[in-house]
């Protein structure tokens, strides 16, 4: 069991280890005075882990309820949020109770947003069960919902009181979900750690299980450093968006179905690196290295839309700043920076 401490506006721990779900109640006890918990999860995760968590909480002397919603990005909506609020109100939840997110990124976003806004804020605990959520979305306090006009356009910062990463959950992930998470893992290597990138190039999707605990620990540590430097996303934190501007455009093209976030981000990293090479911001060699690494994790994919079709979504990108947009570019493995372009210039690159 290893711990990464995050010193954000609130201080909290990310605990990483095997079989932690069984002892969740005792991990949670020191971080909240809540005696009552609502566990929010999707139907897939509920089938596998909900009993185990509820058993742990109840045998620890806590009371708990669960709110289960249909899995999938389509649930990351104001409709689901409305149902959560209604559930909390009908069960007479109060500010001194707490919300637990058990699941992947969609669940963490929904539960975190609800915990941040119901009664203007309840305690919040993250138990991410997907690789993507473990290495990325569960740490750092970003929550969001999708609206018809775009992904993650509405949200807030809600730091959790604790993040519990039970690495046994990786073993139950369908391969597609493992691939999905690897997109963000490769991203960490590209923007911050050549040694992590090299480690990934020396492995592949079928053998990643043997080193996954270390990989998760390294990714969480990188994310912690970035969040501590820039909790509210005014500078350094933008680097985490490497591949995300075009990645989000791709997801939007597919209406958030039929392509995973990780694969969309992987394609976004490839496209932006190709553009960077074309405009002299990195060597062609970097495109090759990235492509070869992504191939090992089933992340080197083709997408339908042409580059020129990805422009409209960029106009609503959160990274846009009036007439300019910050684009994250890697100049070499392990090092990235934000390049400020006018929106017109960026759109012309896409044409």
């Amino acid at each position: 069991m290893r711990t990464v401490r995050v010193n954000a506006s609130t201080v909290y721990d990310v605990i990483i280890g095997h079989g932690l779900l069984d002892g969740a109640a005792e991990l949670i006890r020191p971080v909240t005075t809540a005696k009552r918990f609502v566990v929010i999860c999707d139907d897939n995760v509920a089938d596998i882990y909900l009993d185990k968590l509820e058993t742990s909480l109840r045998s620890g002397g806590y009371s708990c309820d669960s709110f289960v919603f249909p899995h999938g990005e389509a649930s990351k909506s104001s409709d689901t949020l409305t149902h959560i609020y209604s559930f909390l109100a009908s069960m007479h939840y109060t500010r001194t109770d707490a919300v637990i997110a058990l699941g992947g990124g969609v669940t963490g976003d929904m539960a975190g947003y609800a915990a941040g806004t119901y009664l203007r804020g309840m305690d919040f605990i993250q138990i991410p069960t997907s690789l993507l959520a473990q290495v990325d979305s569960s740490v750092g306090g970003k929550t969001a919902i999708d609206i018809p006009e775009g992904k993650n356009l509405v949200g807030l910062f809600k730091q959790p009181k604790l993040v519990i990463i039970d690495t046994d959950t990786i073993g139950t992930l369908p391969k597609d979900f493992l691939v999905d998470g690897m997109g963000e893992v490769v991203k960490y290597g590209m923007i911050k750690s050549a040694s992590l990138f090299d480690k990934l190039c020396g492995c592949d999707i079928d053998h990643i299980g043997t080193i996954i605990d270390d990989v998760i620990y390294e990714c969480v540590s990188i994310k912690r450093d970035v969040v501590e430097a820039d909790e509210f996303d005014r500078g350094e934190r933008a680097l985490l968006n490497f591949g995300h501007t075009l990645g989000h455009s791709i997801e939007q093209y597919y209406h958030y179905t039929g392509i995973s976030h990780g694969r969309a981000v992987a394609k976004g990293m490839e496209l932006i690196t190709a553009l960077a090479a074309e405009h002299g911001m990195c060597d062609d060699d970097l495109c090759t290295k990235l492509h070869e690494c992504l191939e090992k994790y089933d992340l080197a994919i083709e997408v339908e839309p042409a580059l020129s079709e990805l422009g409209e979504a960029v106009l609503n990108d959160k990274k846009r700043d009036g007439d300019t947009i910050g684009i994250v570019v890697c100049d070499k493995v392990g090092h990235a920076s934000v390049v400020k372009l006018t929106v017109d210039t960026f759109l012309s690159y896409l044409r």
Copy 2:
């Protein structure tokens, strides 16, 4: 022109004076780098003030749009919020633009919530035009929306960058809205200032205009002190809820129509003070003083529901804390405290 500086998690000024709307652009210029503003207001306020504000902004070199929604508490909903988000997205607003609330409490709540959540936060400026919003809701950063299960159950803290109180707006308020605001004004006297209370007792609704600038300044100063002591509502700030627990129950009984917030709070103050007297927490004399003051402002009203009918809503009150609830009680004019009761005890008082 007088200024009250608020030292919350962000520092901002509340500027109070005559004719400030005409010079709004120059007041706003020092507090935000935004060059583009969306003014959010209801149809009533739009008819009177929107042109004036937009003219000021445009002649100050800013660009602006307006989002106008139907007046009334029914608009303080997730539906209106959805429309605001959609408007901001379709107009390609970014994080470096800003939101201005022009209007009463409903507008401040909606606009503040939207500014706090769209793209995870835009700059926010309050220009309250109702007495209620000027003395209460525009200062302190509380925002909320109503859900079918109760009033203000969903919200967040979003401190504005600036609050502009143009006291000329009081002159255009229909009398009912003036009365509405006086409910909160009397509350400030009851909980924090015997001198304010005495001043109010020496005046009445038809003459309050002659002293309203001073009254607003005193109320904002009291609110500032309370917010600085307890921005996130963990202690002292609860005193501001005097009359609000039963007041909200009364509003809910009437489905938020047909009774104003101020009158509901006034009745809530009377009911809770009567209960306090009955249980030895204050003298009967206090009930008489409060009643006489409220009569001068058309706030001493009868309501349909019996006390016993106001209990259910209390179970979803934000001030509830597991099995206990904090009730604000005045023991004398100018002094209040929070009395912790079990929910069962409080409900038995209501029977």
